[in-house]
Symmetry: C2
Subunit: 248 residues, 2 copies
């Protein structure tokens, strides 16, 4: 049986949206992470407490399924729930509901625990995940991962320099910018007329302030699909596969 | 006597902050604008209604005075109040208070009314500003404006391309990015150890998606002062003068 549910309400505001009037995917992920952080605080294991213990959560994958994205002014409910955990991974679900109670977005997220001193992934500790009441399992989920982007298929490449303001108080490049770097490579007319159907993103290596990233994209407009890779030199920072749908 | 007051509460969240843990100036302006928009809706003259009348508000200047910037998780109150208006300008004040009721930030803003069809500044209409109950005055406020940045003094120049996601549902480059383009030119170490004391920004010409802006900066670290200009080619988009203070 999955863990405790926790819900927050949010009203989408204009600066979380783009020209289509819909919530940006990066803002959506930020809003979900905030709800998850708030649940942690409520359960007595805030980010600050975890930090004092020498640990921090890192997200290794998000799979976002979109029925429709909420629009400016829309009131939504965001619910999160720890699903399960094994020795190295915690799986968590997020659900976004509209005012009619219809699920419009869901997200499945894989978290790891980082040992801050060793800068290495740590074994999941019972005292850290216990309060969420997710199930312990020996199984590692076999989640779909974005395909490797072959260099000859990356027909679009843009460079982005990590700016001071891209780093938030968690000392990481904020989610919004990864999504921004990836999606900004696509044609504006396409972005105006389509929205994400599924966004599968895998985080591999962190990007730091002042670094210049290459955003590589393979875009198949016919199949409504794009494949993305963010690199710093030879080092892959994150990969993603996006399925698109026409805006209604 | 100035107009009706309107207040909203807000809890600062991590993605509104930078590495110093403090609210970004661009996010601060966005939060204030949101409160002002919400007041307008409450008074029956929402952005949508104004749009149907053929008008839109544009901000021509913000003068932001910072005692201290709120930090991640901090609960603040934002109050706005129409101060006065004349034939072409509306003056509005914003106050940001902490939980102890201390004023930590204030902002004075100049709005103009844009005739959307003529793409020209319109005369202020009584039926539009009446509900705010600001005073009519024949006086035009003589506000300090940022000094003209002489080309030989602009020792720092960086280029930024306007990205798809920089444009919000109001169809304008969101505030955050103007501040980002200006402040990102300054040395990282300085930004980590200082915060804004006063930010005086004047908006002149709009920047559009796909355009490349030049962000020109004169930085006087000794005087804790920076002068900024955002241009697209020969056209000045906005100018600013920032006074800085050391972070406590």
């Amino acid at each position: 049986m999955p863990g405790k549910k926790y819900t927050e309400e949010h009203k989408v505001v204009y600066f979380e949206t783009n020209v289509t009037g819909r919530l940006n995917i990066g803002n959506l992920v930020d809003l979900c992470m905030l709800v998850s952080t708030d649940q942690s605080s409520k359960l007595g294991i805030s980010t600050e407490k975890l930090d004092l213990m020498g640990y921090g959560w890192i997200v290794s994958q998000n799979i976002i399924d979109v029925k429709r994205l909420p629009v400016d002014h829309e009131k939504i409910k965001i619910t999160t729930q720890a699903e399960s955990y094994n020795r190295y991974f915690c799986y968590r679900d997020f659900m976004m509901e509209d005012e009619q109670g219809e699920e419009i977005v869901k997200m499945h997220t894989v978290f790891c625990l980082m040992d801050k001193e060793k800068r290495k992934i740590a074994r999941i500790k019972d005292e850290i995940v216990g309060p969420y009441e997710g199930d312990y399992t020996t199984k590692v989920e076999r989640l779909a991962v974005p395909p490797v982007l072959k260099p000859e298929e990356a027909e679009i490449t843009k460079k982005y320099r990590v700016r001071f303001m891209d780093i938030d108080s968690n000392q990481h490049v904020n989610n919004i910018h990864y999504f921004d770097w990836m999606l900004d490579t696509l044609p504006e007319e396409f972005l105006r007329t389509h929205e994400v159907k599924q966004f599968n993103i895998v985080y591999k290596n962190e990007v730091r302030s002042g670094e210049v990233v290459d955003s590589l994209t393979h875009f198949d407009e016919e199949r409504l699909e794009s494949i993305h890779e963010i690199r710093v030199g030879d080092k892959v920072s994150c990969t993603a596969k996006v399925e698109w749908q026409e805006l209604k």
